[in-house]
C-alpha cells in the first residue's frame, strides 16, 4: 500500500542517547559459542583419529602374510605309492601332502629325515592350508607328479606372528607358541630369502578357518553384500512408498498419528529385539533356513525401515509447497505432482537417510547372532539361502579367538568393514551429486 503510516517514534535529526544494549557482551557470547563449537569438533576429531589409528596400527599387518618359498618335490612315492591314480582318482585327494611340504622344508634347512622330533617341529612351521594348496595343484595338473616345483607355501600362524615381531621372544620357550629352534630356522630361511611377507589376498577371499593364517572374511563379505542388497531392494521402495503415502495421501487423524508415533518408536527399538522377531517369524514360523543371509537381510530391513521412513518424510516435507502448488495449478494430478516434482527434489534427502540406514545395518551384529549367523562357515554361499556370516559377526568371532594372529586379523576385518562403509558412502554421495546437479 502506498499510504502506510509509520510509527512516530523516530524523529529524523534528533539525537536521543543510545541505550546500552550490551554489544560487547553479545560479541563475547558469540565468540564463546564459536569456541565451544570448535572444542566439540576437535574432541570428535581426536576420538575419530584415535579410533582409526588404533585400528589401522593394529590391523595393517593383517594384510601381509608370511610365506615360505620352497622347491617342493611332488614325489610319486608319497602321493601315489601304489600308482592307482588312473583307476582311483580318490588317491590324489587323500594323499599326505603336508609331508611333501615338510620334506621340502627339511631339505632347505638340512634336517635329517629320521629326526622325528625336529621333523615334527618343522611340520608345525607350515600352515595346515598347504594340504589343500598342494592338493589343488596336483588335481589341476596330475602331470606334475614326479617333478619338483618352486611353490610359496603359507607359514603357520605362529610363525607369521613371530616373523612380524608380534611374539615376545624374551619369555621362556615353554611359555610361547614358537620354540627357539623354530625361531632359528625362521631367521635362517629369512636370510636365505625363502621366508618373506606377501600381500595377503586370503583375508579377502578365504572362508572361516580355525587357523588364522588361512582364515578370511570372504564368506562374511558375501553375506554382508547379500544382506545389503536385500535391505536396499526391500527397504528403499517400501520405505519410500510408505512415506509418500503417509506424507501425501493419508488423512491426518488419530490413527495416522498413532502410526507416526509408532514408527518413531520403532527407530529406537534395540536391534536385538528385531533379531528375536526375525527368529520367531522368519525362522520358526515361516521355516526359512538359519544362518541364511536372506533372513539376515529381512531382519535388517525391518530395522532399517523406520530410519528410511523418517528421513524420507522429512525430505518430502522440506520440498517447498510452492512447487506442489505450481504443478497442481498446471493441472498435474497428485501422483504426477509427487513423482515428477516432489520426489526428485526429495531424492538427496532420501538417499542420505537410506545410506545412514544401510550403514547402520551393515554394522549390526546383535540381531544376526540371534538368527544363527554366528556360524563357522567355510564354504562360499552361492545364494542368499546358504549359510553365511556377516562382517561384524566375523569380527566378533575373531575377537574371541585366542591366537595372536587373530588379533591383527580382527583389526584387519574392521578395516575392511570401514572400507566397505566408505565405498557405500562415496557411492551415495556420487548419486546425490547427480540428483542435485539435475536441478
Amino acid at each position: 500500500m502506498s499510504q502506510v503510516v509509520t510509527p512516530t517514534a523516530t524523529v529524523p535529526g534528533a539525537r536521543t542517547p543510545r541505550r546500552d544494549i550490551g554489544l560487547k557482551k553479545r560479541y563475547a557470547a558469540e565468540r564463546r559459542f564459536r569456541a565451544y563449537g570448535i572444542a566439540a569438533l576437535s574432541f570428535g576429531l581426536i576420538f575419530l583419529f584415535v579410533l582409526l589409528w588404533s585400528v589401522v596400527s593394529k590391523g595393517y599387518t593383517a594384510f601381509q602374510q608370511t610365506g615360505v618359498t620352497l622347491a617342493v618335490e611332488f614325489s610319486e612315492k608319497i602321493i601315489d605309492p601304489q600308482n592307482q591314480r588312473a583307476s582311483n582318482p580318490q588317491v590324489l585327494l587323500t594323499a599326505n601332502y603336508p609331508v611333501l611340504a615338510r620334506n621340502a622344508l627339511a631339505n632347505a634347512l638340512g634336517v635329517a629325515q629320521n629326526d622325528r622330533a625336529k621333523q615334527k617341529e618343522l611340520g608345525q612351521m607350515l600352515s595346515d592350508g598347504v594340504r589343500s594348496q598342494l592338493r589343488d595343484m596336483v588335481v589341476a595338473d596330475p602331470s606334475i607328479i614326479g617333478k619338483t616345483k618352486t611353490v610359496t607355501l603359507l607359514a603357520a600362524g605362529d610363525i607369521d606372528s613371530a616373523f612380524k615381531g608380534q611374539i615376545n621372544l624374551s619369555v621362556p620357550q615353554e611359555n610361547r607358541k614358537v620354540s627357539d629352534q623354530q625361531v632359528g630356522w625362521m631367521n635362517k630361511l629369512a636370510e636365505a630369502g625363502a621366508l618373506a611377507k606377501h600381500f595377503n589376498t586370503g583375508i579377502f577371499f578365504n572362508g572361516a578357518s580355525s587357523r588364522p593364517e588361512a582364515a578370511g572374511v570372504g564368506v562374511a563379505l558375501i553375506g554382508s553384500f547379500y544382506m545389503m542388497l536385500i535391505v536396499l531392494v526391500l527397504s528403499l521402495p517400501i520405505g519410500v512408498a510408505a512415506s509418500i503415502y503417509l506424507e501425501e495421501f493419508a488423512p491426518k487423524n488419530r490413527f495416522t498419528d498413532l502410526i507416526e508415533v509408532n514408527i518413531n518408536n520403532l527407530a529406537a527399538v534395540p536391534s536385538i529385539v528385531y533379531g528375536l522377531l526375525g527368529l520367531a517369524v522368519f525362522i520358526n514360523f515361516m521355516g526359512l533356513p538359519r544362518s541364511a543371509s536372506l533372513v539376515g537381510g529381512f531382519v535388517l530391513t525391518l530395522m532399517t525401515l523406520p530410519t528410511i521412513i523418517i528421513a524420507t518424510r522429512a525430505a518430502l516435507k522440506a520440498v517447498p509447497p510452492s512447487i506442489r502448488a505450481a504443478a497442481l495449478g498446471l493441472g498435474a494430478s497428485k501422483m504426477q505432482t509427487i513423482f515428477h516434482h516432489v520426489l526428485p527434489l526429495a531424492m538427496p534427502g532420501i538417499l542420505t537417510g537410506t545410506i545412514i540406514g544401510l550403514a547402520h545395518a551393515l554394522g549390526e551384529t546383535a540381531p544376526l547372532l540371534l538368527i544363527g549367523m554366528v556360524a563357522f562357515v567355510a564354504n562360499f554361499p552361492t545364494t542368499p539361502m546358504d549359510p553365511s556370516t556377516a562382517l561384524p559377526v566375523q569380527i566378533y568371532m575373531w575377537a574371541n579367538e585366542a591366537e595372536r594372529a587373530f588379533v591383527e586379523r580382527t583389526s584387519g576385518a574392521i578395516i575392511i568393514l570401514l572400507l566397505f562403509l566408505i565405498v557405500m558412502n562415496v557411492g551415495a554421495i556420487l548419486l546425490r551429486r547427480r540428483f542435485e546437479r539435475r536441478w
Binding site: P320, S322, I323, A326, G329, Q336, W439
Partner: protein, 271 residues
Amino acid sequence: MNMMTEAAVEKALDQRMNDLSYKMIGKDVSVYYGEKRALFDVNLNVRQNTVTALIGPSGCGKSTFLRTLNRMNDTIDNCRVTGRITLDGDDIYDPSIDVVELRARVGMVFQKPNPFPKSIYENISYGPRIHGLARSKADMDQIVEASLQRAGLWNEVKDRLQESGTGLSGGQQQRLCIARAIAVSPEVILMDEPCSALDPIATAKVEELIHELRSNYTIVIVTHSMQQAARVSQRTAMFHLGQLVEENDTDKMFTNPDDQRTQDYIMGRFG
C-alpha cells in the same frame, strides 16, 4: 443490488449463468477453513476477455475466492466450499468435472514466482506434456517458443533454454510462470498478486503482458496496488471481511464508487 429482492437476484443470476459474456459465475460462494468462515455468499461474475481485479484489505478473502475458481482450495485440508461456480455454464464443483481438466482451462500464477527447479524449456513444456498437447518434439518446441514469446521472455532466454528456470531474475521468473500457465492454452488465468515480488520495471512488463493477454484470455488478478488495479483491469471487485462489497467498472470504482467502504479503502482510510 441491495435493493433487489432475493427472488429478483436469483432470477437475474440464473439468467447470467447462461450469458456467454460471463466466463465464470460465482453464486453464493462461501468458503470455510474448518470452523472458520472466510467467504460469505459471494456473488461475483467474471467477464470474458476482461481483466477483473480483486482488491481489498489483507485477509479479506481475495486469494480464497481466486482459489475457488480453479479448485486449488481442494488441496487445503479442512477447506470447504459451498455455493455454485460455473465455467461456461458448467458447475466446476460438479462431481463429473475433472479437476485436472479444469486446471488446464483455468490456469494460475502465484504471488511468489515458483518456477520448477528444472530447465526453462522443461518449465514450459511440462504442462503441455502432461496434457498431451504436443504430438512431436517440433510441436513442443513451437509451443515453448510461442508461450515465451507471448510472455515477452523469448528474447531474453532463447539462448539458454536448457538453463535452470530458478537462475532467472525475479521478474523473469514470474514471466516464466506466466508463460508456463499460457503453455497449456487456458481460457482463464488467475493471478494472485503476481507483481508483489517484483520491482517497478518488472512490474511494468508484467502489466503490459496482462494487457496483451486480455484479448485471448480472461484474467482475474488479485492486487494490493490500487494503481495497478486501475491500470490493468476493466472490472474491479472489492472484498472486505469475507464479503464482496462492490463490483463495478474499474473507472467508476476509482472515481465514484457506490459503496462508502470502497471509497474509504481506495482513499487509504483503512487496510
